[in-house]
Subunit: 232 residues, 2 copies
């Protein structure tokens, strides 16, 4: 696994700070401007995009351009720049915009770093709760402390029958193959809970008591979890 | 509407403090003792009950017995006492135990006060986030400040088509009548989000951007929302 230099791990935190600073200005304010955009790759027809989403991605991109002008960026709101670079940052400023606009504090800022196309760092930041998970170099930290990840709960050592599974919504799975597979899996786990967005990945990565997240319609965003990094 | 004396509104906060103090000792600890109990009144077969649930209800009951020995209590864990009293407290120490055991901070302590059988006060307390909603005497406060409840978002003045609806899980509705009605309603709203437990009621009561909660299998717990009080 590629060793991530410490200055890049710190920089991921700086990016999350910058995004969170902006996002908090728009948290639970009334009259939030909400645009609807077409997301043809998801079974859910539309997704709200807030001004907070755009402003916070802009702040992160500006920081990257200033500090690491050779690095590439792949952002959910403003697309690709230099994605053939050795290091590429992958940004989703507000994962869970639907949670965000209803004042539910389980959305998150997702930051990943690719090295030659492979994910080597993942960050989930929840700015309202002040919780930041960063996975890199084989360890996941929650606010700087190693998570007490329980190998009985995750890592493939637990039987499905005793596992709690998270999914954002059962409606994200397309009718037919996806729905059938999801329902089959749901029938095999101990319990399926809903509504967490990226926070579900943080819960699983921390070993808090759920062992599995199942989602559909992920694009490059699936690289953004600390889990996928620590499991590499 | 019955005027709730200020000392009883304050006492509701004391109860929430006492419960939260205990619950936080069990938050995200490993090896949490979890019992499964049969909940035949729900479509979901089992529900985890933690030691935190029992200890925090015990603490609230002890406070009530000490301060208001003539008041009745109806608690989720330890049942009824003097429920023919003029004032009866209704307690659910941890609503959303499934969220709780997975380290998801949207569970809540629910406290209601009945006066001659009618709900006159409702409290939702989220001890991890430090958020406390209390509804009484026609007003809902979040941490002591009136909520900026938007009459466009709730109170029956918005068309379903523009409303965001919350439900804990679509599987709480029994096959047949309940499922059919739920799916019909889901088809009429702008969007249906999942996974909030009592926090969804707090979101709606606050006017944060969702206008509706739909649930099934509620017993007396349905009296516990500030919403049902302020709407009386």
């Amino acid at each position: 696994m590629t060793k991530v230099p410490e200055h890049l791990v710190s920089f991921a935190s700086e990016l999350a700070d910058a995004a969170g600073f902006i996002i908090l200005n728009y948290w639970r304010v009334s009259g939030l401007e909400i645009a609807e955009k077409d997301e043809a790759h998801r079974a859910i027809a539309t997704s709200p995009v807030t001004v907070a989403d755009r402003a916070s991605e802009r702040a992160m991109r500006d920081l990257i351009a200033e500090r690491y002008p050779n690095h590439g960026v792949y952002g959910e709101e403003f697309g690709e720049e230099r994605v053939d670079a050795e290091y590429v940052w992958v940004l989703d400023p507000i994962d869970g915009t639907k949670s965000f606009i209803t004042g539910k504090p389980l959305f998150g800022t997702l930051i990943a770093l690719l090295h030659r196309g492979r994910p080597v760092l993942g960050c989930i930041d929840q700015c309202v709760l002040g919780e930041r998970w960063i996975g890199a170099n084989g360890i996941t930290l929650l606010n700087g402390e190693p998570v007490a990840r329980n190998s009985d709960d995750c890592g493939g050592k637990t039987k499905l029958a005793s596992t709690i599974m998270y999914a954002t919504t059962p409606h994200m799975f397309k009718p037919g193959f996806e729905q059938a597979r999801f329902q089959e899996l749901r029938g095999k786990v101990r319990r399926c809970l809903y509504g967490c967005d990226c926070y579900a990945y943080a819960i699983v990565a921390s070993g808090f008591g759920a062992g599995l997240v199942v989602e559909a319609g992920q694009s490059i965003a699936c690289l953004l979890s600390p889990l996928s990094v620590t499991d590499t």
